[in-house]
């Protein structure tokens, strides 16, 4: 009986949609609750400052500018008589940037980082070119690990790190649940709906063992 089978299948489809009708939504209600971006998220490029002195880490080596595939980064760092570079200007045009992260990889001096920020819509096209000062201001509270070899003893960077905020990129350490940015905790997860669950700290530890 074809028709009986057809009706059965039609009802089965309705059953699936009807079943979902009773479930809790998985929506994150954006302005009120926000998705915690993973630490590696490539939001915008910021300039990092030294944690002690507050000065920019950038030495003006122009490596990021050479690495940029879109020509978004402009570094102006003329050399003086002693062949030493002085950083005069550093601008990033976010309308050209393709958020590939090559500049971050190219930088040897911990001078720039892609920070997990995304809310920067504007109604003025020109204001998307950010100069050194803006980039530095935004980069001030961005956490990072100092991997520069020379000058800085390792102890200092350890101490400079705020407690409970492992800004560890190596990912070998078990993630601290309180400050693990990769764990999206925006939604209260319900038990019956697996999609809504995000990995919790316990599971992470289980998986590692």
């Amino acid at each position: 009986m074809d028709i009986v089978k057809d009706i059965k299948n039609l009802l089965a489809g309705m059953g699936i949609t009807g079943k979902h009708l009773g479930r809790h939504a998985i929506t994150i209600q954006y302005p009120e609750e926000k998705w915690t971006m993973p630490e590696r998220s490539r939001g915008i490029v910021v300039l990092l400052s030294d944690k002690k002195t507050g000065e920019l880490n950038c030495t003006g080596c122009e490596l990021c500018m050479r690495a940029c595939p879109t020509g978004a980064i402009m570094v102006h760092a003329p050399r003086d008589e002693k062949k030493k570079r002085h950083l005069k200007a550093f601008t990033i045009d976010f309308s050209l940037c393709c958020f590939c992260g090559l500049c971050e990889d190219a930088c040897n001096f911990c001078a720039l980082k892609m920070a997990p920020m995304y809310e920067f819509s504007t109604d003025d096209k020109e204001s998307l070119t950010w100069d050194m000062k803006t980039l530095q201001e935004i980069g001030r509270d961005v956490d990072y690990v100092d991997t520069r070899k020379k000058k800085k003893p390792v102890k200092k960077t350890e101490a400079a790190k705020p407690a409970g905020k492992p800004a560890d990129k190596s990912a070998d350490k078990p993630p601290d649940k309180s400050a693990e940015p990769a764990l999206p905790e925006a939604k209260p997860a319900t038990e019956d709906e697996p999609t809504t669950d995000q990995p919790s700290g316990n599971e992470t530890k289980e998986g590692e063992q």
Binding site: I26, Y30, P31, S95, L96, Y118, E119, S121, D123, K125
Partner: protein
């Protein structure tokens, strides 16, 4: 539209008219801002993020935004993706087909200035502001869904701040 453009002119003449005008202004602009129906206009990568924003996790419908396939019924073009020189006249045409009041969001680097295709490309339009007036620029390549939502909320705030008298100049 024609009538509404004249309302402020007449309202100013009657006593207490400005009060009526402000109330009217608020109501009308609230209506515009809270029901932005967007045109399904996705060309490239950003279109996938536009789809994701409409999907369950981010849900455009929360902001009162639903998609319309016909430009006549849409209030907003989200130009999602690269606009090439071949596509540019079509974008203009779609914009012209839309009914006033209409808004444009430039989503992603490609629409703002050409993005990754600014240099060395012979086919990409370097910014859609040469073609249509843009209200909000959202950088990103592609922007995250939250960026897009933030841009839309930004646009809503912008609409609410409009004045009825501005319409006459448009």
């Amino acid at each position: 539209m024609g009538l509404i453009k004249k309302v402020p002119v007449y309202a100013e003449r009657i006593p207490g008219g400005s009060l009526v005008l402000t109330t009217l202004e608020t109501v009308l602009h609230q209506g515009q801002a809270k029901s932005l129906w967007y045109l399904l206009f996705g060309t490239a990568c950003c279109a996938i993020e536009l789809m994701c924003t409409g999907a369950s996790r981010y849900d455009f419908d929360r902001l009162g935004m639903i998609f319309r396939a016909s430009p006549r019924q849409a209030d907003l073009i989200i130009a999602a993706g690269t606009i090439t020189k071949k596509m540019a006249p079509r974008l203009r045409r779609l914009y012209d087909q839309m009914a006033e009041p209409r808004y444009v969001i430039a989503m992603g680097g490609c629409t703002i200035k050409g993005g990754p295709f600014y240099y060395d490309s012979y086919a990409v339009e370097k910014g859609i502001d040469h073609i249509v007036p843009v209200d909000i620029y959202i950088p990103g390549c592609p922007p995250r869904p939250e960026s897009l939502l933030e841009g839309c909320i930004h646009l809503q705030e912008k609409i609410k701040k409009q004045k009825l008298l501005d319409w006459q100049e448009k």
